[in-house]
Symmetry: C2
Subunit: 198 residues, 2 copies
DNA sequence: CGAGTTTTATAACACTGTTGCGATAGAATG
DNA sequence: CATTCTATCGCAACAGTGTTATAAAACTCG
């Protein structure tokens, strides 16, 4: 009896895709509901019936961004050397962030006002953490690292990697520092700090 | 011959103060020009004649935030032990950020759209870096640290400290981790990584 | 073919930053 | 003392935002 639904799942992914494009190419300022709706030939109502509002749309985007991010980290092959694998994860972290800075900003910066990720998506985001924890676990078990809680060691590493990338993307690096070599050196030095002294 | 100026320097600081209050107490969403102007009994024009617009107002706030931040770090007394001084800087960094999270967000997060700090304020912000560099310099000169560029070592430390604080404030910490002890432990481990092996 | 019902597009609302215009208030002049 | 001048400031209009209420659209069923 009703008119046919056009606010279906296909439209949902089209909106999500276009929103990601707008974010990546023109930045957060260009991502308005009117613009988004016009670009996919629908009305702003679609965002409300499919997501529930702009914050909810951002939440879906946030989840998508973390999923991609986690995939890139999980794709890394596991070698015999957990320490070298940890270095790889750190380098991949930066590469992923630089590959799509706007998505990184959605994940870790408050680019959109009145948007705070839901608890569920935050939990999903935390899973990005697991590859690193796993490799740190291998290193501890091998007796390479000191006997500290896995999460502490992994968190420290993630913090440094995340912090350096954030500073770089925000333009807060001190002038005259070439970041790429400093970045890898920092990772290796940090790892050295958790090595067990013999 | 004209009517008396009320958009003077006193009003400038009142606007800046109130803007900081609004940011700290109610968040970036509450910082609108109309609200701000009403709170200090003037009109929105004041912001334009005194600053030049909202981004320029934020720029002034950004500078102020970094000044406070730098002051707290510079106030730390210098002891005989540069390594312990570095730990102190790291702990103070976190305390300062937690003392006024909203200001921290203005400094390192893109909380307000269409605001990017000017080159001048960015340069001023970079000076926050110097106390850490100085202490790292002392540690290198004493032969405690490996012979790497000062800026590299200091940047790595700043990155970790900054990253951990950012993750904490953004709510991106993995669940079930007590951050305070992990934080100090991370700093000490990282320092250990730059220690010269004997 | 018309009544009913669900779904969608349109328009109104409250708000934002920004800008141009006109009212204002005092000093200089007649 | 009144008038003119003029820099200065407050108000209102403009274009834009997210959100919400309303009304039109489109199909099925009687």
């Amino acid at each position: 009896m009703p008119r046919p639904k056009t606010h279906d799942d296909a439209l949902r992914v089209r909106l999500l895709d276009r929103a990601g494009e707008l974010l990546s190419t023109e930045g957060p300022g260009a991502l308005s509901l009117r613009r988004l709706a016009a670009d996919v030939n629908t009305s702003t109502t679609a965002v409300y019936s499919l997501f529930g509002g702009k914050p909810a749309l951002l939440d879906a985007l946030y989840e998508e961004a973390f999923r991609r991010f986690g995939d890139r980290l999980a794709e890394l092959p596991e070698t015999d050397d957990p320490v070298e694998d940890i270095v790889r994860i750190g380098l991949t972290y930066r590469e992923s962030a630089l590959a799509d800075p706007q998505f990184y900003l959605v994940m870790f910066s408050k680019v959109v006002p009145n948007f705070t990720p839901s608890d569920e998506t935050n939990a999903a985001a935390a899973e990005t953490f697991t590859p690193l924890v796993a490799n740190v676990g291998r290193a501890v078990e091998s007796g390479l690292f000191v006997d500290a809680p896995l999460e502490h060691i992994a968190l420290a590493m993630w913090g440094m990697v995340h912090g350096l990338v954030s500073l770089e993307l925000n333009g807060n690096l001190p002038p005259g520092v070439e970041i790429a070599p400093a970045y890898e050196r920092a990772i290796r030095a940090h790892i050295e700090g958790w090595r067990k002294r013999s």
